[in-house]
Symmetry: C3
Subunit: 121 residues, 3 copies
């Protein structure tokens, strides 16, 4: 059953990576560093996404779509500065960025992305 689905970094709660039908889905990523600045939290998350994309055999030039949650609209500018520096030139995903409280205490940023899978995989 469902042999066409590859799951990586699997816990009882979620897979961090699911590869299926030519797409890579990542779980919503939150920072390891908490009670840090929004810039530091964003760097940390984007590093995690880089590492997970590498585990899936791709990189940030394969990004298709991102959903971003910030705990407060006041974090928008600090978030965007780090985000835009990270985006490969001319190759940003679509994105939606909205406000939500997050489940992990002390975190202000969460990002979930979808990427294109490597065509050889």
């Amino acid at each position: 059953m469902s042999k066409a689905i590859e799951r990586l970094h699997v816990s009882p709660r979620m897979s961090q990576i699911v590869i299926v039908n030519g797409f890579v889905y990542l779980a919503g990523q939150v920072p390891d560093v908490v009670n840090a600045s929004v810039s530091e939290q964003t760097y940390d998350i984007l590093n995690r996404i880089d590492a997970l994309l590498a585990d899936a055999g791709v990189d940030k030039t394969y990004l298709v779509s991102a959903t971003i949650w910030l705990t407060d609209p006041k974090h928008f500018a600090a978030f965007n500065a780090v985000w835009e520096a990270w985006i490969p030139e001319g190759q940003p995903p679509t994105r939606a960025c909205v406000q939500s409280q997050l489940m992990k205490p002390g975190c202000d940023v969460e990002i979930a992305v979808i990427a294109l899978a490597d065509s050889r995989s």
Copy 2:
């Protein structure tokens, strides 16, 4: 036009199921039971998702991705207990879980999932 899209349980507002390009998309599911415990609400939603996946010809082992909204982070533990008992061993989807108020009064949990479609369909 768009003949490649199969829509099931269609109302003027939304389709509960859309099957396209090898994926099954389900609408965000809220519980029928309101003003119930978070555990009861979560059971109810997961039963609805099981039924909708069956209507789409698949089951929870085909899950790719889940987006979960809770009205309050305090519901996280109760939600996760029911969620983890429901997830088939070793086959969880990716997920993102954030806080939002919900549109249906008295509801504390909403879940939207994407699954792999059956390859024969």
Copy 3:
């Protein structure tokens, strides 16, 4: 690298359109008109979505899935009235509609959609 991804309306922050693997992803759309009624904001967003889908070579009959954020559940009825008038008969996407504050001041509605790409593209 990632040549299979077509990106349209690209800024340093995001692509408004990404076409990949037979799907069209649109960025979360907010209204140009701010401090307007929820009905006016919704019309404006749906017009933007119509225009972006046309740029991607499809139309609203190709919609697969929609995620909708409202700043307050009290906007739900006004939003739905405009939404349901816009949906092509019998061809609605799946949807999830939840509450979030939005990043653009004076906006009460944001919508992100996924559509089927035209099979000839």
